[in-house]
Amino acid sequence: MDLIQILVNGLSVGAVYGLFALGYTLVFSVLGVINFAHGAVFTLGAYFTYLLIGGAIGANGLMAGFQLPFALPFWGALPLAGLGAALVALLVERVAFRPLRRRRADPLLALITSLGAGVILVNLIQLLVGAESYAIPTSVLGGLPASFPLLGARVRTVQALLLGVAVLLLALLSLWLEGSRNGRGLQAVAEDPETAQLLGIDSTAMVRLAFGLSGFLAGVAGGLVGLSVSIAGPYFGIGYGLKGLAVLVLGGLGSVPGAVLGGLIVGLAEAFVPADWSGYKDAVSYGFLFLVLLLRPRGLLGRPLPTKV
């Protein structure tokens, strides 16, 4: 495989990791906790996309044979799936995070409650649509060719799409965070929830906003991965979820550009693992993570860790 091909493969996988880590980072920045249900929301996004393009459910599960009476083009299905995932993320916030916040409980508990929510979601998917894998046919892209040549390499259109959408979403998110009232409110809550509250910012609404956005990003990423490599079953988000965690720390907890940079680095590093060693590919991101944590615990673009006195 030549260099361009490796780069393209690495960047497109890295874009997914980046989108994933962005979702974690948004929630982490306002609440200081990791949402372990994020992988399940990603998975749901993929299934929503599959249903919205008119895909039929297989023979297993309670929804066997179900098919929507309409079929949307991929461009319509993807944002709608993102919205569906955002609603689920809001629901997760409502049941797994807000009660803890209201009781001022140990934030550590949110690791457990969000994982509980994730377990429920994943098994609900399995109950409803079965454990089989579903593929989103690349024909949904309409007239676009399956691949195109670039500098002597063949690039799958899906890969370019993944990268393009990730960059677009990152740019929009950055503009929104810096330029809009809500975006700045979100940053204020991330900085210091109590001061933000005193300044008249509704921190509960900002938390909800962060969850909604993170769910949307996860849902879109899920739909794109579903298109790129098919939906391998209800558990397929978990592997990405763990990689996203590594990426999150690599880039710096709470840093938006860090999440994307971390994603691209991990994606590229994995793409450069030789085929003979492919079994060890999954350890690359965690090895990186380990090194970064030990050498620079705040991550590549993170802010200095607070030191309590």
Partner: protein
């Protein structure tokens, strides 16, 4: 009750204690399943590749089991010792994520190393006991020993140093507690306990593969402690016993089983934020039994 289920519950309680030990010192380590897997591989490899450990009769010798548990514990402890120094400088969620990474690295190694049997793992691990009852008795002794040691911690200087670090690390350091050393001891003790448990579990389960130490297991074992209560050793033991039994007891509800299990994990912390075993409930129990327990 079914002896096999009881044995699983006891193993769950041991793993919960392994998560509890660093947490007693304020350190959220999720590395337990990684060390558990390492201990299991030590036992699986020795008892299937070394003739003396496999024995010649219907059952493998008991001394071999004990030796494997010791060796599994030692190897896990050595790994913890090697990485503990730098890793334990991390705090809170950073430490948790680093230990998740450690578990994943160990899992990938277990999956790919030339001698661990790949994805299939290692089969036909010889049995030191003819029936599950033997395992239950043996594990009960081990659990009692672990509980006794944890109870001793309540009065020992080491245990009090651990509690001081949990409550305020800087304050603990300022009164002369060697915080890095204390944290390292807790981390290594946790690893040794997980390694010993893994060696025992590999025999009981008869087969061992890389799935023994996964991210799911990290969170499940943490749930044991959170559910039971992390302030006193009785909490994790109770949490381990109950949450291990739950998915099995829920088997009759079929497909809804894991959904219900997820609901319990979701709702448990909401209704019992301190866990089932709290200082007040312990005192209440003590008054009921007519004597004051040594609760924190």
């Amino acid at each position: 009750m079914d002896a096999a289920l009881l044995e699983q519950m006891l193993l769950g309680a041991l793993l919960a204690l392994s998560v509890y030990l660093p947490l007693r010192c304020g350190q959220l380590s999720l590395a337990t399943p990684g060390f558990y897997a390492v201990g299991g591989y030590v036992a699986a490899l020795l008892s299937t590749r070394v003739a003396a450990f496999a024995g010649s009769g219907a059952t493998s010798p008991l001394w071999a089991l004990v030796a494997e548990m010791v060796l599994g514990g030692i190897l896990a402890g050595l790994i913890a010792l090697a990485i503990g120094g730098p890793v334990l400088q991390l705090r809170g969620i950073y430490l948790a994520i680093a230990t998740i990474a450690l578990v994943e690295i160990l899992r990938v190694l277990n999956l790919n190393l030339p001698f661990t049997g790949g994805a299939m793992g290692i089969f036909a691990i010889p049995q030191p006991f003819e029936q599950a009852d033997g395992y239950v008795l043996f594990t009960l002794v081990l659990l009692a020993l672990a509980c006794w040691l944890c109870q001793r911690l309540e009065v020992l200087r080491l245990g009090r140093a651990m509690a001081a670090i949990r409550d305020d690390e800087l304050a603990a350091a300022s009164v002369g507690i060697d915080t890095p050393r204390t944290k390292l001891i807790a981390f290594v003790a946790s690893a040794v306990l997980a390694g010993v448990t893994g060696a025992l579990a590999a025999h009981f389960l008869n087969a061992w593969n890389a799935r023994a130490g996964s991210f799911d297991a990290s969170i499940t074992t943490l749930a044991f402690v959170v559910f039971g209560g992390s302030r006193y050793w009785l909490g994790p033991v109770l949490g381990g016993l109950v949450l291990t039994a739950l998915p099995e007891l829920l088997r009759p509800v079929g497909d809804l089983r894991l959904i219900l299990f997820g609901s319990v994990i979701l709702l448990g912390p909401l209704f019992f934020p301190q866990g089932l075993v709290t200082a007040e409930r312990l005192r209440g129990l003590g008054a009921l039994l007519g004597r004051a327990p040594q609760a924190p």
